[in-house]
C-alpha cells in the first residue's frame, strides 16, 4: 500500500480555515451585507466589506494573493 501523497490542498484549507476563524468580525460584516441584498446580488455589491475581510485574512495568513 503506497503512502498517501502530501496533502498540500488540505494544509492550505486548514490555513484558510484558521485565518477566517480569526477574522470573525469582518466576516460577519460581509455576511450581513450579503444578507441585506441576497435576493439580488450584483457583482462587488459588498466590495468594501469584502476587502476589509480579505485584508484581515491575508494578515492572519501572512500571505497575499
Amino acid at each position: 500500500m503506497s503512502a498517501s501523497p502530501p496533502p498540500t490542498g488540505r494544509i492550505l484549507v486548514r490555513k484558510l480555515a484558521d485565518a477566517t476563524n480569526s477574522c470573525a468580525l469582518p466576516a460577519k460584516a460581509y455576511g450581513t451585507c450579503i444578507l441585506g441584498t441576497y435576493k439580488d446580488v450584483a457583482r462587488h455589491a459588498c466590495a468594501a466589506e469584502f476587502s476589509a475581510f480579505k485584508r484581515c485574512v491575508q494578515a492572519a495568513m501572512k500571505k497575499k494573493w
Binding site: 459588498c46 469584502f50 485574512v57
Partner: protein
C-alpha cells in the same frame, strides 16, 4: 493590472466557451449559435457526471492515510445504512444472492445477517473504496467486483439476484432511468430493490453560499454542487422502470460542522468532490473565503456551528411477478370507505 484581470474574468465567466462562438469577447453582442451540448458528438443518455473523475476521486479518498481518513467520514452512510438494514430485515424472506450496488467499502453489507442472506456481491466503481476494509469485518459471505455500475448488465446476469440494495451512491449515475431498468432486469421475478439516494435538498446551504459568493465576487455562477433527484421524480422513475408496489419516502440527516471548511474537507474525504462535466477545476480563494462568511451569516446556528443537510430518498420497489399481490381493478371495491373512516 488587477482591474484588467478582473474585467476579463467577468466577460469570460457567464459564457461557456465553446468553439462555435462567432464573436470576439470585445464585441457588444454575439450572434446566435446552436447551443453547445456539453457532450457533443455523442448519442445516448445525457452525460452529467464525469465517471472517470469520480473513480479517481474515490480511489484517492479511500487510499489516503491507508483508509483512516475515509473511515472517519463514514458517519452519513453509516446512519443511512442503519435505516436501510431495518427495512431489509422487515422483509421476512431468505435471500440467496444480494447485489450491493455502489457499495463503497460496504457500509450496508457489513450489517447484513448471514442467517438471512447467503451471499452478497458488492459492486463499486472504485477499486480502492471497494477493498478498503478487510474481509473479517463482514459477517456474510461477500464477493467484491470493481466495475462501472452504469454497465451493470455487462457482468451481472439477468434474473440472477433476489434483492438489490444501494446505499447512497446512485447520485453519481448519469442515466438514472436506465440504471433502474438494469436493476429490474438483474432481479429475479418478485425480487426487491431497496435503495437510498441523495435528494435535491442535499447540501443546499453550501450550494446557496457558493452561488452567492460567486455572484458577488465574480459576477456569475458555475456548477459546484451536482444536480440531484427530486423526490417526486423518483416515484415516476421507479414506475417507469417497471417496478411495482412502490414505496418512496424521504428523510434528512443534518450534521453540524464548526465551519464550512470542515464540511469541504469531509466531502473530499468521502470521495464526494465535484464531478460534474464542465465544472471549473479551480475556485479562487476570494470566492472561498466569501462563501465561508456567507455560509455562517445565512445558515449559521447560534452556537457558532454551521449545519449541512443531507436529504435522503428511500425507495422500495418489486419486480413484477404473477405470484405477487396486486391492486384490485378500479370500481371493484364493495365497501364504502365512508362507513369505515
Amino acid at each position: 493590472m488587477n482591474g484588467l484581470l478582473h474585467s476579463l474574468h467577468r466577460r469570460v465567466l457567464p459564457l461557456p466557451s465553446h468553439p462555435g462562438r462567432i464573436c470576439s469577447p470585445w464585441s457588444a453582442r454575439c450572434l446566435a449559435t446552436p447551443s453547445g451540448s456539453i457532450n457533443p458528438g455523442t448519442v445516448g443518455p445525457f452525460q452529467v457526471f464525469d465517471r472517470r473523475a469520480k473513480r479517481l476521486q474515490k480511489d484517492r479518498a479511500a487510499r489516503a492515510e491507508n483508509g483512516d481518513q475515509s473511515r472517519l467520514v463514514d458517519y452519513v452512510r453509516n446512519e443511512v445504512a442503519d435505516v436501510m438494514i431495518e427495512r431489509l430485515q422487515d422483509i421476512k424472506r431468505q435471500f440467496g444472492n444480494v447485489l450491493d450496488l455502489g457499495s463503497g467499502p460496504g457500509h450496508l453489507t457489513k450489517l447484513i445477517d448471514p442467517e438471512m442472506v447467503s451471499k452478497v456481491t458488492m459492486v463499486d466503481l472504485s477499486h480502492h473504496t471497494l477493498h478498503r476494509d478487510p474481509k473479517d469485518e463482514f459477517e456474510v459471505q461477500v464477493e467484491r467486483q470493481q466495475m462501472d455500475e452504469e454497465q451493470l448488465m455487462s457482468s451481472i446476469l439477468r434474473d440472477s439476484q433476489d434483492a438489490v440494495v444501494s446505499c447512497l451512491s446512485m447520485h453519481w449515475i448519469n442515466d438514472l432511468p436506465g440504471m433502474l431498468v438494469q436493476i429490474r432486469e438483474v432481479l429475479k421475478p418478485d425480487g426487491v430493490f431497496l435503495g437510498a439516494l441523495f435528494g435535491g435538498e442535499t447540501l443546499f446551504e453550501l450550494r446557496s453560499s457558493l452561488q452567492l459568493a460567486e455572484m458577488e465576487r465574480e459576477g456569475g455562477i458555475s456548477p459546484r454542487i451536482s444536480p440531484m433527484t427530486q423526490t417526486q421524480d423518483m416515484s415516476n422513475l421507479m414506475g417507469r422502470a417497471g417496478f411495482s408496489l412502490l414505496t418512496v419516502d424521504i428523510d434528512e440527516v443534518k450534521i453540524s460542522y464548526p465551519s464550512m471548511w470542515e464540511l469541504l474537507e469531509d466531502l473530499k474525504a468521502m470521495g464526494e468532490s465535484n464531478a460534474v462535466i464542465g465544472r471549473r477545476h479551480f475556485i479562487p480563494r476570494d470566492t472561498l473565503i466569501a462563501a465561508s462568511a456567507i455560509y455562517e451569516a445565512l445558515h449559521g446556528a447560534e452556537d457558532g456551528t454551521v449545519p449541512a443537510t443531507f436529504q435522503v430518498i428511500y425507495v422500495i420497489g418489486w419486480k413484477p411477478s404473477p405470484t405477487q399481490p396486486k391492486a384490485l381493478d378500479r370500481g371493484t371495491g364493495k365497501t364504502n370507505l365512508r362507513d369505515i373512516l
